[in-house]
Symmetry: C2
Subunit: 163 residues, 2 copies
């Protein structure tokens, strides 16, 4: 069928195909969401990751970079340049914490806080575009979260430094 002779049992080929489809479907769905958010967030001037940061700040107010990263599973390598762009856009302000000079607190500017009003219509448009019932979304979400937890644990076990 392919380049290899009969050395590999059919099961391996089946797995190969299946395995592609799980993670690939996941990636495809994430990228499809990205395309939709790109359109919807365009007039807010935000990318999807920037929107996520704003969601965290709208919900929790000023936070250290570290805490923002914990909410979004992102490290400073991703957040530092992203926050710099949000700062350039006038949506946030970054200040070294007085009590711990290592920490930088991210605060909303007035403009950043005001943007929330315009963002309120976003979720409805996204939810409508999925064509899913709320219950089905909830179900999907819980499966995905369980999957993420299992995968994280598995990646740790597979890492050389674990033994």
């Amino acid at each position: 069928m392919t380049t290899t002779p009969a050395s590999a049992p059919a099961q391996d080929d089946d797995f190969l195909r299946l395995d592609q489809q799980i993670c690939f479907s996941l990636n495809a769905a994430a990228r499809a969401f990205g395309g939709l958010y790109r359109v919807v967030l365009k007039d807010l001037g935000l990318t999807y990751p920037q929107y996520l940061v704003m969601l965290v700040l709208w919900e929790h107010g000023g936070l250290p970079v570290k805490k923002v990263g914990e909410h979004l599973r992102l490290d400073s390598g991703t957040l530092s340049p992203l926050l710099k762009r949000l700062e350039t856009a006038g949506l946030v302000r970054r200040e070294r914490s007085a009590r711990d000079e290592r920490s930088v607190t991210v605060e909303l500017t007035d403009e950043g806080a005001a943007l929330r009003e315009r963002a309120l219509r976003v979720p409805r448009r996204i939810a409508a575009a999925t064509g899913f019932e709320l219950a089905e979304i909830e179900d999907l979400r819980s499966r995905l979260d369980r999957l993420t937890g299992t995968l994280d644990a598995a990646a740790l076990e597979e890492t050389p430094a674990c033994e």
Copy 2:
């Protein structure tokens, strides 16, 4: 609760939270898969997107860049540099098609074809790490594919140029 007073009804806040969780859960799961594949694919010297390209070539043999992109939903802007890296690694060869000089055919080298043997063990390790039954994976996959289709259609409708 947050920075805004009672001007926004509670529903909007709920949506805001929910909306984050659907796409966010999706992204988180995709990134968790990425972390696992990074570990598992390390000794093959492939990234996950490169692995996907190799899967397509192992299954279909030599293909034009366009066809590879159709299988993976990727355009030449992503594939060109990726294929260049695979070529540098000695796994593929790119040749201008004789019958259509616009098209470039991607072929496996002997080394690229041989790598398939070592890749056969990958899917089992990934599948095991998910901790999901095959049926549950299938179910999840079909939901995600349906979601992707709906989202793609919605993004088209939302695009200004659609009317």
